[in-house]
Amino acid sequence: MAIWIEEDAKVLVQGITGKQGMFHADKMVEYGTNIVGGCTPGKGGMTVDLQSNPYPVWNSMFEAIEATDADATVIYVPPPFAAEAIMEAADAFDQIKGEGVVVCITEGIPTLDMVKAVAFVDNRPGVRLIGPNCPGIITPGNNGGAKIGIMPGHIHAKGRIGIVSKSGTLTYEAVAQTMSIDEGQSTCVGIGGDPVNGTGFIECLAAFEADSQTEAIVMIGEIGGNAEQEAAAWAKENVTKPIVGFVAGATAPPGKRMGHAGAIISGGKGTAEEKFEAFEAAGIACARDPSELGAVLLESLKAAGLR
């Protein structure tokens, strides 16, 4: 078991004929992801070559899911059309299967579009949205696995650490840290750095807690909002597995957006210090330097009798 995405999950690619979509679809197939085709309105019927094999393209997500019985979709659609792509996928999954995972990689979607899209997805309880503005989700397998997104597949290995993060490259750093102490990952979820997104920290923690493959969790937050504080308080009551945490942005000046649309300290709220304190109050073992995540995780595993 892993969370939400099994190793052999059937995956569609929205925007598969675009430059980004095609490039990453190819990398996903190379990793071993079970890509079953893609969707680009107006290009239905054509095929796209990934790793020298042809993959079908459909005009709509309804057609694509009907034809493939896909479990998940990954969106590489430009910002003006991305929110609608999310809603199309959610609607199709809901009507056809009653469930599905929608992963949106796109960065730069207008916030009010996301307010609408998230409300739309929330009305379809079987559908899960991950992102936007995120690296995606990966469940490494014994041989390949399901890589749904833009993360470098080769740095991962199957194991028992669940990782959840708002960041992209900082997640890779966390993955590398687990590997440095010979630990692999169950599932790694990038929830994205936008102010309004789908799946949050708490849902990830709950899923990792319930997952038999996951034995410890790494949680990476950043400045802005209070999702980390809420997650920490929730974890204190509900998570029995060891959690190791880091928060980026201790040196960020207030009122300045640090790359991610959501990474901003406003009105003195959402600082890294506030979040670290919340982590510590919840018994989460913190690394103040991400290069020490491995060492802190190792200690936590030992303390829990897992090493």
Binding site: P80, G108, I109, P110, T111, L112, D113, M114, V115, K116, A119, N123, P135, I150, M151, P152, H154, I155, S165, K166, S167, G168, T169, L170, T171, Y172, E173, A176, G193, P195, V196, I220, E222, I223, G224, G225, N226, A227, A248, G249, A250, T251, A252, P253, G255, K256, R257, M258, G259, H260, A261, G262, A263, G267, G268, R288, D289, P290, S291, E292
Partner: protein
């Protein structure tokens, strides 16, 4: 993206939100003409900068930094007053608690008719990240620092989340009006204004609309006496008109240039320049520099798919800052291959004639090739295997100056 009060009020007017008459001016003579035009005995002369706290701020002469006038918003009772105040404001530096010590040069002025005020309120619309919806906040405590109100008398701050599927509903408007103690004509006027503001917020892709104070006039009209409006930059593609109202002089020149080349840059006060891929890792890099006793000079995210040219632009932007005494490059290659970054770093340092110490930490895709390229170069590049080692090295290399 922020806009000036006078621009926000023009937008309000366009969407049917009641404001008082006012004129945007850029010179003293325009301000005097505005006074004649408004035909109001009392007018407000208001400094226009992208920062709050203008009324309580002070104006200083840009050269000598001598105090010119206390208060960036003045009430004028005569044409002479308008002349004096506008002369004291235009071309001087306004320092408020939001601008920092350096303050902001005032180039725009808003001269506005007076208004008979019965009571001052606070009203704001913004996106609530936790509830994932638009939030309306209102209070009877207008004209005050709203964070203080929230802290000390939270019961006086009324909050209303709008269901994106249902929109702003009649009962919500009525309840909020009653919570503010509004009755009769004032309550009706408030409802009309709130509907207009919510529609403006959605149509214009706002990030925030704040009116402090919102006033009830002596004849029970609700009037926006202030307008703080900011837009969601992600929606720029569908608002061509923003180009015309964007005041680039209010933004950091170097941050604009960085954005044009697809880089995300924020200048800080330290002396160690950073070049990183990914926003989270870029923040973490700054944090680790500080942890090991250094001070970061900037935040810089080159993005996920940066090319050699972008790396070069990134270097030139970092090195423009005279405070920079050393540079730390931290790349975790995912999509971006380390060998490409290594070539970019070498090309950039050669063409820019880098004289300060440079530490490069590479990890991820093609890391061995990248490291080999750096090792083979004759340039003085210090390699590091992880972030902590990189940060320690750069702090040591610029030793004594931290």
């Amino acid at each position: 993206m922020n806009i000036h009060e006078y621009q926000g009020k023009a937008l309000f007017k366009q969407h049917g939100v009641r404001v008082v008459e006012g004129v945007h001016c850029t010179s003293v003579s325009e301000a005097l003409d505005a006074y004649d035009h408004l035909q109001s005995k009392v007018v407000a002369v208001k400094s226009q900068i992208h920062a709050g706290g203008r009324g309580k701020g002070n104006l200083y002469s840009p050269g000598s930094r001598d105090l010119v006038m206390e208060g960036g918003v003045k009430i004028a009772f005569s044409k002479e007053d308008v002349g004096t105040y506008s002369e004291n404001i235009l071309g001087n530096i306004l320092v408020t608690k939001q601008t920092g010590e350096e303050g902001k040069l005032v180039k725009h002025l808003y001269v506005e008719s007076g208004c008979d005020i019965a009571h001052e309120y606070y009203l704001a619309l913004l996106v609530d990240r936790e509830q994932k919806s638009v939030l309306i906040m209102a209070s009877t405590e207008g004209g005050m620092d709203i964070e203080e109100v929230a802290e000390e008398t939270p019961e006086l701050l009324h909050k209303l989340n709008i269901d994106p599927n249902a929109g702003l509903m009649g009962y919500q408007i009525r309840d909020l009006g009653l919570a503010l103690g509004l009755q009769g004509a004032a309550h009706k006027s408030f409802g009309k204004m709130l509907k207009a503001l919510y529609s403006l917020f959605l149509k214009e892709d706002c990030a925030m609309v704040e009116i402090n104070p919102l006033v009830r006039s002596s004849d029970d009209e609700m009037i926006a006496l202030d307008a703080k409006v900011s837009f969601d930059e992600n929606a720029e593609f569908r608002h061509k008109s923003w180009d015309d109202i964007r005041d680039l002089s209010e933004e950091e020149d170097v941050e604009i240039r960085a954005k044009e080349t697809g880089l995300s840059y924020v200048k800080l006060d330290g002396n160690i320049g950073c070049l990183v891929n990914g926003a989270g890792l870029a923040m973490a890099t700054m944090d680790v520099i500080k942890l090991y006793g250094g001070e970061p000079a900037n935040f810089l995210d080159v993005g996920g798919g940066a090319n050699e040219e972008q790396v070069k632009t990134a270097f030139s932007i970092i090195l423009e800052d005279p405070n920079v005494k050393g540079v730390l490059v931290n790349i975790f290659g995912g999509i971006m291959r380390c060998d490409i970054i290594a070539r970019g770093v070498i090309a950039a340092t050669e063409s820019l004639g880098l004289t300060v110490p440079l530490v490069v930490r590479l990890a991820g895709t093609n890391v061995d090739e990248g490291k080999a390229i750096l090792a083979a170069s004759t340039l003085n590049i210090h390699p590091a295997d992880d972030l902590a080692e990189g940060a320690q090295k750069i702090v040591e290399l610029i030793g004594g100056e931290v």
